[in-house]
């Protein structure tokens, strides 16, 4: 029981720097990522939890879940249902190519103290808006920190051959730009991904990749990497499976009134056996 209490707290401390409202890990997990045939469906699970990929803490509540079709058009997830610990939904694959399923937000975050109490904006579950920021965040306050912050959580599935139309960056926030296609990953092969922060190479971005099945082994056995000058990381997979991948970025090149810029990125990628 003690472990259950301690673990979130420890993780909370680790990611406090990013001011993440959710200290836990969160993901959108596809049932399969490379499909053949016609008119196929893929099921997804979205959950907040620390046990990869065991949904045992909170369901993800989406404000802006988007499905990007291979031609770049937007569509919606179907059969969305939120359970106790996970949100499930389906995506219909009518056209061949790569689909991106994502949720992303960009905005300002602030934390400060008022009468010795910690305050933050946006609060848990709250969405950033310019108006909301102006209304809630004081210009001067004790221990005021204002951050330009972006979050993105996404995954990819491909019907037929992989395509790249949906992989174009928006140049907002922290994004993955594939060098190796995210639906073309094999355990014996090195994969290269590039990360951009607001369209520029995210040098120094810290990546952690964890293969599924942590509950059946004694360690997280994670892969760690730091993005180079070009924003690139090279990954050598630890076997086949679905990987939880988390990237954190931080610098001081923020838009005013922010003094820090942070980006967090999460994806789930499937690596197939050779």
């Amino acid at each position: 029981m003690k472990m259950n209490v301690l673990k979130p707290l420890l993780l909370g401390a680790l990611v406090a720097g990013t001011l993440s409202a959710e200290a836990h890990r969160a993901w959108i997990l596809p049932q399969e990522t490379q499909l053949s045939g016609e008119d196929r469906w893929v099921g997804f699970e979205a959950a907040v939890s620390n046990d990869i990929f065991v949904a045992n803490y909170h369901a993800v509540r989406f404000n802006d879940l988007t499905v990007l079709q291979p031609d770049g058009d937007k569509s919606e997830a179907e059969n969305l249902h939120t359970g106790k610990y996970r949100t499930v939904f389906d995506v219909k694959l009518e056209d061949e190519g790569t689909y991106k399923i994502f949720t992303a937000s960009n905005g300002m975050r602030a934390m400060w103290e008022e009468d010795g109490k910690r305050r933050m904006y946006p609060g848990r579950g709250e969405q950033y808006t310019e108006e909301g920021f102006a209304e809630n965040v004081p210009e001067k306050a004790d221990k005021l920190r204002v951050m330009q912050s972006s979050r993105r959580m996404e995954t990819f599935v491909t019907l037929g051959g992989p395509t790249t139309e949906t992989l174009q960056p928006t140049n907002k926030g922290l994004e993955l730009v594939p060098v190796t296609h995210p639906n073309d990953l094999y355990s014996g092969e090195q994969a290269t991904f590039k990360f951009l922060i607001d369209g520029e190479p995210a040098e120094g971005a810290e990546l952690t990749a964890i293969r599924e099945g942590t509950r059946y082994r004694n360690s997280q056995d994670e892969i760690s990497a730091v993005a180079d000058k070009k924003g690139e990381v090279k990954l050598n997979w630890k076997g086949a499976g679905r990987y939880f991948i988390e990237v954190e970025y931080k610098d001081d090149k923020a838009k005013k009134p922010a003094t820090e810029r942070t980006g967090s990125y999460v994806t789930v990628l499937e690596v197939l056996p050779d």
Binding site: S36, G37, R40
Partner: protein, 173 residues
């Protein structure tokens, strides 16, 4: 592609017949008898890759071609290597290449140089790849490297261990 015969005995008989015909490239594929509760005939892909791992020719793809609404294509990706290197960029079915699945037995495929699917086979080093995937079963991939053409008859053989039995590649000058 011509699917000549099935059954081990039949292959043996056929071998002498083939010599008369002077076939130039033939592949014999054995699908083993399996003692399993639920048996589905395997999907099988047979293709040739060059020394840069590029597919130069698809020789055969056996899958559930006749299922309604192309449902049978759902499992094509389980032949993972073939799917990645070739299948996912093909429009199925492929005339003269795709066909129905087969149960246990040995099957002989015969090809003539200069004609599809060997029309573009230039002299060089290649490998024959045979991949089988079975629903509720496993997957196996067999590779047989070979040089093309040959000055004398050459028989190359590999033995599968789970989803495939003996695979034989015979090249005649």
């Amino acid at each position: 592609m011509k699917l000549i015969t099935s059954g081990l005995m039949a292959v043996a008989t056929f071998a002498s017949f083939a010599q008369v015909q002077a076939a130039d490239l033939s592949v014999s594929i054995e699908i083993p008898e399996l003692d399993v509760a639920e048996y589905h005939k395997p999907y099988v892909a047979v293709w040739i890759e060059d020394d840069r791992n590029q597919v130069v020719s698809n020789l055969a793809v056996w899958y559930d071609v006749d299922m309604r609404n192309a449902e049978g294509e759902k499992w094509l990706k389980d032949m993972r290597q073939w799917w990645r290197r070739s299948g996912r960029s093909l429009e199925m079915p492929v005339d003269g290449v795709s066909g129905a699945t087969y149960g246990p037995g040995a099957y002989e495929l015969e090809f003539t140089p200069g004609k599809a699917p060997l029309a573009d086979l230039k002299p060089g080093d290649y490998r024959l790849r045979v991949e089988a995937a079975r629903e509720v079963g496993g997957r196996e991939l067999i590779n047989i490297p070979f040089s093309w053409p040959q000055s004398s008859e050459k028989k190359l053989e590999e033995q599968g261990s789970s989803e495939l039995g003996a695979i034989e590649l015979t090249i005649k000058p």
